[in-house]
Subunit: 235 residues, 2 copies
DNA sequence: GTCTATAATTAGATAGAC
DNA sequence: GTCTATCTAATTATAGAC
């Protein structure tokens, strides 16, 4: 039908369909839904159909935009680490001028707040980290190793100032990760056990303060720590 | 074929096939394989075929013994918590006579060593804890809540002696869990990042010592802590 | 109790219209 | 770019022989 093709060609010049914009919007909505799903249920537990439903599109669109479920997973991880890296970049200039121990405390707090805002990151990571495989190797080499090395440097500097005595830096990294993320990673379990929401502003602040107190006790007094409410519950 | 049936009946009386024993053995082998698989890949990622292969039996036997994949998961969790509870029972008499802070330190060390021996427990738990669902509710109410309450009691007692100041007990529980288990949970990632094995005897001991130092710094000097090797690596 | 064979279901991916 | 319809492959579960 040449006439129809012609009509289409004409219309396509008159009406700017901004295909890139719509595409980018759709991609983003899919990615947000995917992060939620992968974080909740892991790669195998997450269903592309469910992700599509949550994003308000049809399932084959995922393959159109990302090629495969694995491609979607990578794009989602990429997106989230991009946000984390942006947060760090933003804080970086401030950190340079600080005492290394204060810098470490700042990084800990930043990390706590990022995890409260985006619990998917640690959920997703930990689900891949329990067994070797292509996804783990990809995420480690592409995203984790740089921040790992940076934290090691910070820890070594803090240790030269007498903090974190006798803890191997790589162990300190794992301790940080575990202690900082666990409440948010297992928030549904925390909710079932205590009836409380770990994402509330007070609880985030208390959590960050507790972490700094644990890892850098000598820093606590010098910083304006958020009030810690020790709560009384019937049990 | 009546003659064959008769022969079978006769033979079955002469040769004691000890069916229960074989059954119990098989069940155990399936459960061990299942724990590994569920811990590595989560409920959805674990395949009953693979579990059967690892256990050296055929896949339908799983349904014969456990009814369903979900039944197998429950039996495996039950088995593992049984072991944990046995460890705790064993240590309990010793703990009663201790200062609550020392008792807490002992519990931390016991928990570290159990997790080093059975990383599946925390792997499995954390994979269910990220989203509400029937498996999470079952495991929380049946297995986690009792130990949660016990730890809260210990923390409150330790706080009355001045330890863990200003940390809400439920938060302390999460911090313990995260800090104690993370190296073992994400052992494959740790291995990729550092080239080291977190399960070695020295590393377990160092990890336990670091944890006690973090949470109960005043206890450290009084206890025979394992030597902590601060290791030097090229990077 | 354990096996072989297979049914039933459902996942991710593709084809093709619009 | 997005949709509908469908394919292919792989999973858990069942039937039935031994």
């Amino acid at each position: 039908m040449p006439s129809r093709r012609l009509a289409h060609r004409v219309r396509s010049r008159l009406i700017p369909r901004r295909p890139r914009l719509r595409s980018a919007e759709t991609r983003l909505r899919i990615i947000e839904a995917a992060l939620q799903a992968f974080g909740d249920a892991g790669f195998d537990g997450a269903l592309t159909r469910e992700i599509a439903r949550a994003a308000g599109i049809q399932q084959p669109l995922i393959n159109y935009h990302f090629g495969s479920k694995h491609g979607l997973w990578q794009a989602a991880v990429e997106h989230l680490f991009g946000r984390l890296e942006a947060s760090v970049e933003e804080a970086l200039p401030r950190l340079g001028s600080l005492d290394p121990r204060d810098a470490l405390a700042e990084v800990l707090e930043l990390f706590v707040h990022f995890n409260a805002e985006h619990p998917e990151l640690a959920r997703l990571m930990i689900k891949e980290a329990t067994a070797r495989g292509p996804r783990l190797e990809w995420i480690i080499e592409r995203h984790v190793r740089p921040s790992f090395e940076a934290v090691l440097q910070l820890v070594r500097q803090a240790q030269r100032h007498g903090s974190l005595y006798g803890i191997e830096p790589a162990s300190a990294y794992c301790l940080f990760m575990g202690a900082a993320t666990s409440v948010f990673v297992m928030a549904p379990a925390f909710q079932l056990l205590t009836g409380n929401d770990p994402f509330s502003a007070e609880r985030r602040a208390a959590h960050a303060a507790a972490l700094v107190r644990l890892f850098l006790p000598e820093r606590t007094a010098r910083r304006d720590t958020a009030a810690v409410r020790v709560e009384r519950r019937p049990n």
